[in-house]
């Protein structure tokens, strides 16, 4: 066992941790499909899926069996290469962005100095999934959905980045662990960066194409938008990719604005994962509550809101934060 040096063991342990985090995120994303349907039902005075197993808990198994055995059909008029590539991009790009999220002091995949920027880069690449899916399907509803998605994502990504620059200016680092440490010493960023929080939350909902920003897949107008031609596992990858996006944005909201793994008033510092999971779960619930309660705005209203309200708000927020940081220095 001469090759089992302490360095090799350390590498193996961190690889193992990364795999555990990967599996946990994917499983959380898959389970969310059941949780979302049950919660939507509760908020809309219905039962939801409650037949399979206790409380309908095995509904997810039934859904997965159905998805695996469905015919994975590629339309003959579709562009085969890009049609197959799109769902892979949809699922993997946001999943990869999870490596910068610090979960507890000891858990987390990578401690990148450019952490936040890495998330922006991956969020920027997700737009290719819908764009390519819409184009490769060779279907006018899919193309319209893809074009809407591209315009929406580009518009909202502008202030997705700007909304967090206030945090970066105050902390002086893109590293998410530094940001968590700064919040532990000072106020949580939800207080000084409330406008950053609001705009980042809105942009996060828009970038994951969640209700009320699900214009690209509006059923009433576009049948199902960019993934109307998809079936079976390819459609499943889009589906799980969306939930992974929700988990990622919720985890980032918890990390960036609510102190990450620290409890309020330093309560229970022995249980960092509990705090992280509670905060992330809370934001996932908010995502679902938004879908349960809000109607979908018109497309032009949504674009105007992004450019005329959110972008100026983030710019003013950044300006004021910069002035305060300069005055304090």
């Amino acid at each position: 066992m001469s090759w089992l040096t302490p360095e090799v063991i350390a590498i193996l342990i961190s690889v193992l941790k990364a795999i555990v985090i990967l599996l946990a995120v994917v499983i959380a994303g898959a389970l969310l499909s059941f949780v979302e349907r049950r919660l939507l039902a509760v908020w809309q005075d219905r039962y939801g899926p409650n037949r399979v197993g206790p409380f309908g808990m095995f509904q997810i198994v039934a859904d997965m069996l159905k998805m695996f055995f469905k015919e994975d059909w590629t339309p003959r008029f579709a562009d085969r290469l890009i049609f197959t590539l799109a769902p892979v991009v949809a699922m993997s790009s946001l999943l990869v962005a999870f490596i910068v999220v610090p979960i507890t002091p000891t858990w987390g995949v990578a401690d990148l100095n450019i952490g936040l920027l890495f998330f922006f880069a991956m969020a920027g690449l997700t737009v290719y999934a819908v764009l390519f899916a819409g184009w490769a399907s060779n279907n006018k509803f899919a193309l319209l959905g893809g074009l809407r998605a591209a315009a929406q994502t580009l518009s909202y990504e502008v202030f997705l980045g700007l909304s967090l620059m206030g945090i970066v200016a105050q902390t002086g680092s893109f590293n998410l662990r530094d940001i968590v440490a700064y919040q532990a010493d000072n106020l949580w960023f939800i207080i000084p960066q409330i406008f950053g929080f609001l705009t980042f939350f809105i942009a996060g909902v828009a970038v994951t194409h969640r209700h009320p920003f699900d214009q690209p897949e509006a059923e009433q107008e576009l049948a199902d938008g960019y993934h109307v031609e998809y079936a079976g596992m390819k459609w499943g990858m889009f589906f799980v990719g969306e939930y992974i996006g929700i988990v990622l944005v919720s985890a980032l909201l918890a990390t960036l604005f609510f102190g990450g793994w620290h409890g309020p008033f330093d309560l229970l510092p022995q249980l960092p994962f509990l705090w992280f999971a509670l905060k992330t779960g809370f934001f996932i619930m908010i995502f679902i509550l938004l879908r349960a309660s809000l109607p979908r705005p018109r497309y032009d209203q949504m674009m105007a809101f992004g450019w005329k309200v959110c972008l100026p708000l983030t710019l003013i927020n950044l300006l004021v934060t910069g002035a305060i940081v300069l005055a304090a220095a």
Partner: protein
């Protein structure tokens, strides 16, 4: 790190070659995105993560999306593919290819005639260092670029406003 640099540089060259010889516009753009990602990997391997990630955010994540957007709207069919194939006929590019091959040979000769002392150091250039450089020695270039972008924005605003008035 040097291996990573040469590997991603090779991917970038191959992907860019595919951009040129591909007859389908969207496939060519996909290769261009790959090429930009490879260039960003080059930056990472040279110890410039900030530049690398900006390459992805700005070029792959924003500018190329607009390119793809426009190409999709053009609705290029099999006709344009035929045309591309005609334009890419060997007779057309054999002359330029030969001449650029000569230039490449000359470049390689110059590069390898004197062994260079430069190696990949792996020292990281972080965002702070880039910021100091931009607002220190390169302040004039930053200001000029800002002015140009402002002019472009005013122009875009003017054009968009004009059309909006016609609709109303």
């Amino acid at each position: 790190m040097e291996f990573a640099f040469y590997f991603s540089a090779g991917v970038a060259v191959a992907a860019t070659l595919m951009v040129i010889i591909n007859t389908r516009a969207v496939h060519a753009l996909l290769y261009l995105v790959t090429s930009l990602l490879a260039v960003s990997m080059c930056f990472f391997s040279l110890g410039a993560p900030f530049a690398g990630v900006l390459e992805i955010i700005v070029y792959a994540g924003a500018i190329m999306v607009l390119f793809v957007f426009v190409v999709m709207m053009l609705n290029l069919g099999s006709g344009s593919e035929q045309q591309e194939r005609q334009w890419l006929s060997p007779r057309g590019w054999i002359g330029p290819g030969l001449l650029s091959g000569l230039l490449l040979a000359q470049l390689l000769y110059v590069l390898f005639s004197e062994p260079s002392s430069g190696t990949v150091s792996g020292a990281t250039v972080d965002a702070k260092a880039v910021g100091f450089a931009l607002f220190g020695p390169y302040i004039l270039a930053v200001e000029l670029a800002a002015m140009m972008l402002l002019a472009a924005m005013v122009t875009a605003f003017h054009i968009g406003r004009h059309e909006a008035k016609e609709v109303a």
